[in-house]
């Protein structure tokens, strides 16, 4: 079924981007590129995200696009519980990132860790993994079909066939679906560098420097 043609109105949108996100993620009618190119770009990118089914550490089924991406500011990471090379460093690093973001943008950012070893990483294993690292609310660990997960990795530009199965664990993807702004960076960057990169997408810094009367763009005004 063409899951992406259906209208979904369940996503709660942040006030700062409500109008924009509704145009990008909601209706059937594509936004006019001339009227709102950012919304148009976000809508075009929507076609890019496979809406595959994943299962989180609480055994809840979620759709990648509908439930994890749409309307959200998100940090995506691929990992596996038995990973010995990077993940033992990456996960604590992202814990620090989450702490920083919970302080500076509470409730605005979600973290998504997807296993590349779904045969081993059942929801139970992932739950134990999350508990081991004292993972806070707003961070899901997911498993699913191997082929779906590989496709996600390819679509996010983080999987090359010449890589061994478990390589590429050292990158994270950060994006804001409603504005179509996506980037990849090193997961072992300093946590404040990662957090600041994410915060820039909340436009907090922007709002801090823009004088109230100097610009009337809705994305800025709405967030004041």
């Amino acid at each position: 079924m063409c899951k992406f043609a259906k209208v979904t109105l369940t996503v709660v949108l942040a006030a700062a981007t409500a109008g924009r996100a509704a145009a990008a993620g909601g209706g059937d009618k594509p936004p006019s590129p001339q009227a709102d190119f950012q919304a148009y770009t976000a809508r075009a990118l929507r076609e890019h995200f496979p809406n595959v089914v994943l299962i989180n550490q609480d055994k809840k089924k979620v759709h990648f696009y509908d439930d994890l991406i749409k309307g959200k500011l998100v940090v995506i990471q691929f990992m596996f519980a038995n990973c010995e090379r990077f993940c033992p460093m990456v996960t604590p690093n992202l814990v620090k990132v989450q702490e920083e973001l919970r302080k500076r943008a509470p409730g605005e950012v979600s973290l998504v860790s997807i296993t590349v070893d779904p045969d081993h990483d059942t929801p139970e294993v992932l739950k134990a993994y999350a508990e081991k690292f004292h993972i806070q609310e707003g961070w899901q660990f997911l498993t699913g079909r191997k082929s779906d997960i590989d496709r996600l990795r390819r679509e996010l530009g983080l999987y090359y066939p010449e890589d061994k199965q478990f390589e590429h664990m050292n990158m994270i993807t950060i994006g804001k679906e409603p504005t179509g702004q996506w980037l990849s960076m090193r997961a072992l960057n300093k946590p404040d560098v990662i957090a600041y990169t994410v915060l820039l997408l909340t436009h907090r810094q922007t709002r801090a420097v823009v004088k109230p009367d100097s610009h009337s763009h809705p994305a800025l005004v709405a967030g004041k």
Binding site: M1, C2, K3, A5, P33, Q34, F37, Q38, T41, A44, E47, H48, P50, N51, F86, M89, S147, D150, R151, R154, E155, L156, G157, L158, Y159, Y160, P161, D163, E167, H168, M169, N170, M171, G175, K176, T179, G180, Q181, L183, S184, M185, R186, A187, L188, N189, K190, D192, V193, A195, Y196, T197, H203, Q205, T206, V210, S214, H215, H217, A219, L220
Partner: protein
């Protein structure tokens, strides 16, 4: 419910944009942009069956139909119109400019809806800035893009103080609805074809792809005294004709079915387009005379490399006289049938059409002979560069534009292939070179390895591992933390740097900010054997092509300008802008 296979059976799949939008299995507007090797077998089979011979977007317009646009020369403004702008009373001539980064819908594909671009003053490419050496330029740049994107502006090629350089540092971002003033002293460069472009952290690829680039030409008496073709006063064009000195920015672009630019932010290898624009027009024609022209060619593409040749419609070669590159003119010209130009490189040539008889069928094509279907690297030259398609396919091979030889006019310029062009190019003595690092000996080099880590990240000088760090664009307000500095140099010292690509799988055009360099050698990274310089590497350079398994040795002296000092933090990075956005970049510092 129709699934993909059913649609294929019905012959509907792939043939209709509307159905493509409904199906979604890796068939969105970006599917073609996925690198071939990234596809699963199933996806490969599907792709070959349905996309090999046609595009997702609209067909390109008929070639050589659109006229070549020339970017307008930006006009100065009175500083009194720029509240708060830096003012100077040091007697140095200073010119003020104001540019607004704007989103605009412009006609690109005939018969299609207008295309949204992000342009300086809303045009793609942006207006051309021109200045004389010794003339200070103050540029007020507004981010009026209207969205949530930040921007940073880099003057590519110039000696500029760190705070105006536009390195990818967070302190240099122009937030939406705000502006920043940039000061370009232009007192430690020679006449050259520079350019200015967006350099935002993590988003340069998208911003530049959308159109945020423009030429910035510097002139000086030595260059003007040569009276090259298109000299502004001695060799003006007849009324209604274009000048004989043409800036040409070559860019591959991709469009969706609505004629909108389509960019894949997940294209970590480097994004390639399948339509080819010169100065913002797809495969344009330009009306020219049978005489000499000066062409300033800039590869403004994100990741595509070109090998350019000029062929007449009869297949005859018109040679290029390469007269200069990134940092200015050569000592003498080098004649070649073709040259390779990587992202952000500039090559200045003089071409002579005087052997051709003007007429409606007399045409010279600017051909690209280098195949590339993967952002990682080009796939090699085509066997026969004479017979390339009139319209390039997705591999990029074909005619990028045509010069239509349609009239005759007197040539008041002077150029001979063996003449002396400049006598003042700096020559640096390798024996004097020494990095400012305690304990090193004269002749020691700084080494920089460009590679991809096992964790999938782009690295400079960092093997993968616990201690390795990625590029840090700090400080991160409000955290008072400085970016990691990977090298500190001192004004007045001469240094040799080695840029090393030890991989056979990747291609990195490396750009160093602040300075111009001379290339000492181009070396096989494995055997250490000298490969000789390319004909585009004989002058002052700021872009260094690390082909597969190639090491470049370069030398410079870190000087200040005649009046201005240029100290602070600068970057060096891969100018495959997707690699750059993934932080294939280091910070170096120039200290007094």
């Amino acid at each position: 419910m129709l699934d993909r296979r059913a649609l294929i059976k019905l012959g509907l799949y792939g043939g209709s944009g509307a159905l493509l939008h409904l199906t979604r299995l890796n068939s969105g507007a970006f599917a073609w942009a996925l690198d071939e090797d990234d596809r699963s077998e199933d996806e490969k089979e599907h792709h070959h069956k349905h996309h090999k011979h046609h595009r997702h977007g609209p067909p390109p317009p008929p070639p050589f139909m659109l006229g070549l646009p020339l970017p307008p020369v930006k006009q100065k403004v009175n500083p009194s119109t720029l509240p708060g702008v830096p003012l100077f009373n040091d007697g140095i001539p200073t010119s003020y400019y104001e540019i607004h980064e704007r989103q605009a819908a412009v006609p690109v594909l005939p018969g299609m809806p207008s295309t949204v671009v992000w342009g300086f003053d809303g045009i793609w490419p942006g207006p051309m800035l021109e200045a004389n050496i010794g003339e200070r330029v103050v540029l007020r740049m507004h981010n009026d893009l209207g969205g949530t994107n930040n921007s940073i502006i880099h003057h590519h090629g110039a000696h500029v103080a760190s705070e105006s350089d536009g390195s990818a540092l967070w302190s240099q971002q122009i937030y939406p609805g705000t502006f920043k003033d940039f000061v370009y002293p232009n007192d430690d460069d020679i006449a050259a074809t520079h350019w200015y472009h967006d350099h935002d952290i993590n988003f340069t690829g998208h911003n530049v792809f959308m159109g945020l680039e423009g030429f910035l030409l510097l002139h000086d008496p030595a260059e003007l005294g040569l009276n090259l073709p298109g000299h502004p006063t001695n060799d003006p064009p007849p009324p209604g004709e274009l000048p004989f000195d043409l800036p040409l920015v070559i860019q591959d672009r991709a469009f969706d079915a609505n004629a909108q630019l389509v960019y894949n932010p997940f294209s970590s290898r480097g994004f390639l387009g399948d339509m080819f624009a010169v100065n913002g027009a797809i495969q344009p024609m330009v009306r020219v005379a049978n005489r000499k022209y000066r062409l300033r060619i800039l590869n403004g593409s994100n990741a595509r490399v070109y090998h350019l040749t000029l062929r007449t419609d009869q297949g005859a070669t018109i040679p290029f006289n390469i007269v200069g590159t990134d940092g200015g003119l050569y000592s003498t010209a080098v004649q070649t049938e073709g040259f390779t130009i990587s992202p952000s490189e500039r090559v200045e040539v003089v071409v002579d059409f005087s052997s051709l008889t003007p007429g409606p069928t007399t045409k010279v094509f600017l051909n690209n002979c280098l195949m590339q279907t993967d952002g990682r690297k080009p796939a090699g030259l085509v066997a026969d560069c004479t017979n390339v398609p009139r319209t390039p396919g997705a591999d990029g091979v074909g005619a990028l534009m045509s010069f239509d030889i349609l009239f005759s006019t007197p040539d008041h310029s002077s150029f001979t292939p063996d003449q002396t062009l400049r006598t003042d190019l700096p020559v640096y003595n390798p024996a004097e070179a020494m990095p400012s690092v305690p304990g090193t000996q004269p002749g020691a080099t700084r080494d920089w390895r460009f590679e991809r880590g096992k964790g999938g990240e782009w690295l400079v000088n960092c093997f993968n591992g616990a201690g390795a760090q990625a590029f840090d664009p700090g400080p991160t307000p409000p955290t008072p933390e400085n970016p990691r500095v990977d090298a500190a140099v001192k004004v007045g010292t001469t240094e040799i740097w080695r840029l090393i690509n030890g991989s056979g799988g990747w291609f990195h055009p490396v750009h160093i900010h602040r300075n111009q360099f001379r290339i000492l050698d181009r070396i096989d990274s494995g055997s250490g054997k000298s490969l000789g310089l390319l004909p585009t590497q004989l002058g002052l350079k700021d872009v260094f092509v690390l082909e597969q398994n190639v090491t470049i040795r370069l030398i410079t002296k870190f000087t200040n300008g005649l009046h201005a000092t240029q100290t602070g933090k600068y970057v060096m990075h891969c100018h495959n802008v997707e690699h750059e956005d993934m932080a294939m970049m280091i910070v170096w510092e120039c200290n007094p």
